[in-house]
Symmetry: D2
Subunit: 299 residues, 4 copies
């Protein structure tokens, strides 16, 4: 018989996704979230925070290659990288492929989560937590950027959705994006979580896009599709410098000679176009998100 244990994720209050579990690996609560790691039959090992899927063994490469490489390749010469969030360790794994990077600062608020991921999600970090270039800082990402004097070539924000009780809410506001702008070097690149692109709930994505656009001279959004997320999702790239040439991106990836499973040079250089309904949402939802008026993810 098949395993009778199921992990039930509320995709929204009107959609439940049930994953057949082969075994539960870890369940606990950190200061910030309930953490579950389970081995699912469909997507391999999965990490859930507060019951929401964060990463799955079989397709996390799509998320992490999408987050890291466009930003890294867009910068002419990335040497220092700051990652806000990213406890799974796969973001640093992808960044570590850049041998000319000499400093990676990762700031995650959830010490327990980092510990649990190190222990149970080995294939995510693949040794990157031991990389001597990495400095791991446990703390609030926004506070870290406020208090440091350092500037970075690339800053990546690898967060979950800004839901009601999430510590992430104030990392989706104009004030936060201004802070990232300040802490980026002259040709600095930011890459931000853009939430999902379901046609019925585009308001938040569009507002994030417009808020970042109110801070950076050049911004683009791009989609990625993760089977284990059950929806089209997005990242938003921002450059302090001049508008990039996407053809260069393809060449830059080619030159790097990485072994990637998701991005290819032609796929990468044509990644930065959104469907019409998303473009339309940008026009219709121009309200800027501020600390005084944060915007929540409401599934």
């Amino acid at each position: 018989m098949n395993d009778p244990l199921w992990f039930a994720e509320d995709g929204s209050k009107n959609l439940i996704i049930q994953y057949r579990c082969l075994r539960t690996v870890y369940s606990g609560r950190s200061r910030y979230a309930r953490i579950d790691i389970v081995d699912t039959a469909e997507y391999g090992r999965m990490l859930f925070l507060d019951g929401i899927a964060q990463s799955a063994e079989e397709d996390e490469f799509i998320y992490h290659e999408s987050l890291v490489h466009p930003a890294m390749l867009l910068h002419p010469k990335p040497r220092s990288v700051c990652i806000i969030g990213g406890a799974e360790g796969a973001t640093i794994r992808e960044v570590a492929k850049y041998q000319d990077v000499n400093r990676v600062v990762m700031v995650d608020i959830d010490e327990e989560l980092v510990k649990v991921c190190k222990q149970h999600l080995n294939s995510w970090s693949n040794g990157a937590y031991e990389d001597p270039r990495l400095q791991l800082h446990i703390g609030d990402g926004r506070k870290f950027l406020e208090q440091t004097d350092e500037t970075f070539d690339v800053i990546m924000v690898d967060l979950n959705d800004p839901t009601e009780d999430s510590p992430a809410i104030y990392l989706f506001t104009q004030e936060f994006y201004q802070l990232v702008h300040q802490r980026l070097g002259k040709e600095g690149i930011g890459c931000f979580q853009g939430t999902d692109l379901q046609p019925t709930r585009l308001k938040l994505h569009a507002r994030i896009y417009n808020t970042i656009s109110s801070v950076f001279p050049w911004v683009t959004s791009y989609p990625y599709m993760l089977p284990s997320f059950h929806c089209l999702h997005s990242f938003i790239l921002a450059s302090k410098g001049k508008e990039p040439n996407f053809l260069d991106l393809g060449h830059a990836l080619q030159a790097r000679n990485f072994k990637l499973k998701y991005l290819t040079p032609p796929f990468l250089q044509t990644l930065f176009h959104m469907p019409a309904y998303v473009e339309q949402a940008y026009v219709e939802n121009q309200e800027v998100i501020t600390d005084a008026k944060p915007s929540l993810y409401s599934s």
Copy 2:
């Protein structure tokens, strides 16, 4: 309280997706499938065949624009179109936007399904079933192509997955694709269902791609992402003629001046690249699908 009725879709034997139902609209069995139409809270009205989601009110435009326009715009001057399947009526709705098309033959095997869709999925067909250019033929699509002498500029195959009991199995074989090739005019374009692109089950998609490539001189696959399908999916385009220039596609769409919700000219002209893991699957799964050795969809 929220509605306590749920429609449970087996995404696979290890994944269940439950849609909260506002009301059931129709349930019945045709000769070929169990048909359910329900109003879901998440995606609006949905059509399920044998319990598998086929189309949802809120995002069907993504599927139907993806299926129709690349093929139509790739042909220099489409006048006659044949659609195999497509009972919902949204494929003919998109084709009907081409005023220079003067003949549309739609062949669907399931008369009951067509009737039910006409009655309950109005927003899908949006009047297209009454278009005088349409000739609706109830019958087996393959048999129709075998028996007709007619040739078409564009042939689109709008089918569900080739699962075990589906009448669609023999519409995913080399013999079938050869038949489509025969029934296409000189510069004819075919567009085919490519099944889903979940990294853990790429074999069928890759074989379909390679099978079509064994018949047509020029073939490309492209992805689309439907929230209500919970996975990246694909179509496969094939041309009897010379290799197309995708930049021309963007211009062609621009010139048409359609009101589309999914495709924009830049989005369309950069649509035709696949992730690395899909390209890799093409190399690894070269077996051609034949009538003697059909390939089934196994979730």
Copy 3:
């Protein structure tokens, strides 16, 4: 394939029961509750109020025979009966079997529910709504008893659980039971909903029992088990008169010559004993429920 539609009942916040649905018969909201009638594969047609099972075609006889006959047979000569609640119509169906009863007053607060049950639950009422002895009064059962001067031989309270928003809360208090006591004739019998007997939540049942015991000279509780309720449940009988002899009950049933599906004379006369853990709960939960301090059902 099997029907993919499921009705999900929250047995508690930690237990979900999913019934496969053959079809939905009615869904709507009255002033007091959401009403769903569905044809389930497991128990036939079922009525749910606010998502909680009230009655199932295949086993409602267990509930209704258990509610009606002990009370009716305990009274030496029942002529007039008052039923609070009972919209399904099966309580009046069982009462109507007593040909010497000449007056049945049924008081239900939910006019819409009564209408829907009359239309869709024919096999429950089986014509009893047309019995000339029946007077149907739409209104609050407690108010009705406060305002009438009439007395009854038997008063039955056929209600759902006193959950937070239920109009039934004040029909489970000492003041209400005193009112029933007043409106009963000299040898009058009351029969009351006793909620479920799950070992982990006996407090409410025990308090109801003790509250009724604080009002009536003689009280007994008895269990019934309904597959569609998934738990042992109870009624509580109270007599204004002298302690009854249960052996007489068996003889009285024998003499009536009814065709019952649940009760037999020997089964009936041995019905009135509770498991030890229930008796123990009576000792441990002596708090009387009053209007000032109502007690809620908390699953």
Copy 4:
């Protein structure tokens, strides 16, 4: 947030019961079954075999007191007891309360299951596995009875339902009951699993009852209701000797002075009556179950 892990039990093919899990304790496969032990929020720790609930911490006392005490108390002087099945260890726990019993043979086919229960279901066996009077025999219960020369005062059959692949099928046939009859002493008592009493599937219970009645001079069935079984269930008592007086049973329990949580003397002595619909099923399903024609449990 609440725990998002659920154990899904197929109550039948049309009914799913989902238990919220606090943690999984053990999952594995023995030679005979898949074994799961999980801590549920609703019923405490639970044991499932092949996904079907066998026992729950919060209400197993109902099952085990019901199985053991009627049989033990019916025998005038039980000294030796044989238990077929009973891996949880709660049957021997109840038997161990009889200090004048000097020999208990327990025969369970599933060594792995016994081991797992000893380790994880301590509150079930409560030390009884260490009782010096116990002889644990791993092997097929029927074969054991065939090969032994010993006779017992009481033989209890503590098995799961005779489903298709269960080794229990041939422990529900006339040949098996004859064997039990042979291995019982002069006034010996047998107690047998009677399966559930859901009105829609009484055939198997009635056949078991009639089959046992074809072997023993005196037989009675009696119900028990376990919340975690979601249905009324039954045991069947059989005596080689004369018809017992149930009033004596109450006195016998009184005299023992056990601390029981389910049975009381008055409850026990009135336990042995079945609802009318069960009595009716005995009349309608007289077919005797034999090795040549076994009867399966079909939910």
